[in-house]
Amino acid sequence: MITLNNIDKVYRTEKIETLALKDINLEIPKGEFLSIMGPSGCGKSTLLNIMGLLDLPTKGAVEIEGQAIGHLSDKKLAHLRNQKIGFVFQSFHLIHDLSVVDNVEIPLLYRRLSGSQRRKRALAALERVGLSARTRHFPSQLSGGQRQRVAIARAIACSPEVILADEPTGNLDSNMGQEIIDILMQLNREGSTIVMVTHDERIARQTARIVRLFDGSQVY
């Protein structure tokens, strides 16, 4: 599903160069649930952003379903993100002055769908995360766990093949965190490929495979 070959990522400022990722090779087959672990600043999020086409590697190649993305235009990358990938972030990143259902509709806005089709799909996604009763609420009226469920609903609204979750339980207590993991597990059982960054060993152990990073390198 996602292939990373010899990925390097270097951040350059005027004075210093930081090697964030070094020679990463990773093959993520369809339907896998993979955890990426490592201490803070080891490059986990950078790796996830490269997989999610939000950032480009300095060296190396990224393939999504066998398609190399190195030369794609901004428009094509955006289209690919919309079609194939759903994101879940640690700090939820919901838009505060949009209602729950409007937030979930965001990825659907960039598809050719009628208003009623969008609404229908957004409501279906909210139902899957158990938030059908809260569609008219605003993010500020929800608990952290509920907000993350809205974020998951947003990520799955377009039925992407891959869900990239960057510390989805990082801002939640362990009960709420487990609820989120359970939802992700369920989505994985239904066929989604999931890549999750975490530094919670207990959570990582529930996934099929763990990739460990240290100082930008893969350590297994």
Binding site: Q83, S91, H93
Partner: protein
């Protein structure tokens, strides 16, 4: 998609009420000033009655003269003698008229004091100007030559002096003399400086000595000539004929030794006053100057918008990151931002139109300028609105470009926004 842009734009505008207010205020105030100013200009110089033939009219309203002692006399300071001898004698124009500017005359009538603007003119004046007569008819060249004590008055003068009743044939006392009313015309605005007056009298009724042989005029209120061309294309020939006459001037009073200016359109006179040099008018200069001023004026809200937009973008960076992550391309986001700007500009334009209607109504009803009849110049409004819209788009492009360069990964980093 457009509906969605619209929805987001409205939400964004409501989210930042203060910013929205500042932007809207800037846009609508600028447009308001432009519209009101242009309706003033329109009211003053466009070919409306009584200056319906304005496109064929030349006038002599502004002169500059050098005196023997090296000084300068500037303004409508030529004598009746000069105009009569060197302008009225011209052959190419269809008609020539010499009149005075208006001066105020105080009149006591039935224990009431009135101040009327009084203008002295000849018979041709009524042919060149198209006054709207509501009663009677103009006095003729024969009336003027025979020094008949006749007067034309405005509707307001009739209302004040005669309580609005039909007045042709009645008499009116002015400057210790009794005049018979020959006609009543619609009010003329003060901004129409050439035809403006409340009472028009034959120029031969003037107390000043019209035959005094001198070039400059030292009596108030001064004179001007109106020249009606058969067609506008005659202007160069008329001006050439005038220059020829000007070359033949005999400087008799040994005060004035050099004279410039004279026969030109109203707009040329304005350009001479505002941007012209001493010797000639500068029409394109005035147009450019006005255009630059208007542009600068409109630049202010545009810069303000750019500024507000840039600060707003940083505030919305997380939202931009989210939208990018979920499939918005940079182009889509740029479109959204520009749509927001166009909407706010359009709302500003609409507000300015309502404000302009109110302001013009107040100005028309107040007595600051007599007989003001300002109307919205739709052409100017459309042009200003268009330019502001262009600025709206333009002011959206710079921030939108910056936004497009933002890395989604960068904006999504960090805590809860």
């Amino acid at each position: 998609m457009i509906r969605n842009y619209f929805k987001i734009a409205i939400k964004v505008l409501l989210r930042h009420k203060l910013f929205t207010f500042i932007s809207l205020f800037g846009i609508s105030f600028t447009l308001l000033v432009l519209v009101v100013l242009s309706s003033f200009i329109d009211h003053a110089i466009s070919p409306n009655p009584p200056e319906k033939k304005q496109r064929r009219i030349l006038s002599t309203t502004y002169y500059k003269m050098r005196t023997k002692s090296g000084g300068t006399i500037a303004g409508p300071m030529v004598s009746y003698y000069f105009l009569d001898k060197y302008v009225r004698s011209m052959e190419i124009p269809e008609a020539i008229s010499i009149s005075s500017f208006h001066s105020n005359v105080i009149v006591y009538h039935q224990k009431q004091k009135f101040t009327f603007a009084c203008k002295y003119c000849d018979g041709n004046f009524w042919d060149i100007m198209d006054f709207n007569f509501i009663e009677g008819k103009p006095f003729t060249q024969t009336d003027v030559a025979n020094m008949r004590p006749v007067a034309i008055i405005s509707r307001d003068t009739r209302n004040l002096y005669f309580q609005g009743r039909e007045t042709v044939g009645e008499s009116m006392d002015l400057n210790g003399k009794t005049f018979r009313i020959a006609g009543v015309v619609e009010n003329v605005s003060l901004l129409r400086i050439l035809p403006y007056a409340d009472v028009w009298l034959p120029i031969t009724q003037m107390k000043a000595d019209l035959n005094k042989q001198s070039i400059s005029n030292d009596t108030f209120p001064g004179f001007f000539a109106l020249l009606l061309a058969r067609q506008r294309s005659d202007f160069p020939q008329i001006k050439a004929e005038y220059r020829q006459h000007l070359g033949e001037v005999e400087f008799l009073d040994d005060r004035v030794v050099e004279i410039h200016g004279g026969v030109e359109t109203y707009f040329e006179t304005l350009s001479r006053l505002f941007v012209g040099g001493f010797e000639q008018s500068n029409r394109s200069g005035l147009v450019i100057a006005v255009f630059i001023l208007m542009l600068l004026f409109m630049l202010l809200p545009a810069i303000n918008l750019v500024n507000i937009n840039i600060s707003r973008i940083y505030e919305r960076s997380a939202e931009i990151g989210i939208r990018k992550a979920f499939g918005a391309s940079s182009a889509t986001l740029i479109n959204q931002f520009i749509t927001e700007n166009v909407i706010i500009t359009a709302i500003g334009g609409f507000l300015s139109l309502i404000l302009a209607l109110i302001v013009l109504r107040i100005l028309n009803q107040s007595d600051i300028i007599p007989h003001l009849q300002l109307r919205i110049n739709w052409r100017i409004f459309a042009v200003s609105l268009f330019v502001t819209l262009v600025f709206g788009v333009f002011s959206g492009v710079i921030p939108a470009y910056r936004m497009a360069r933002m890395q989604a990964a960068e904006t999504l980093r960090g805590g809860e926004k």
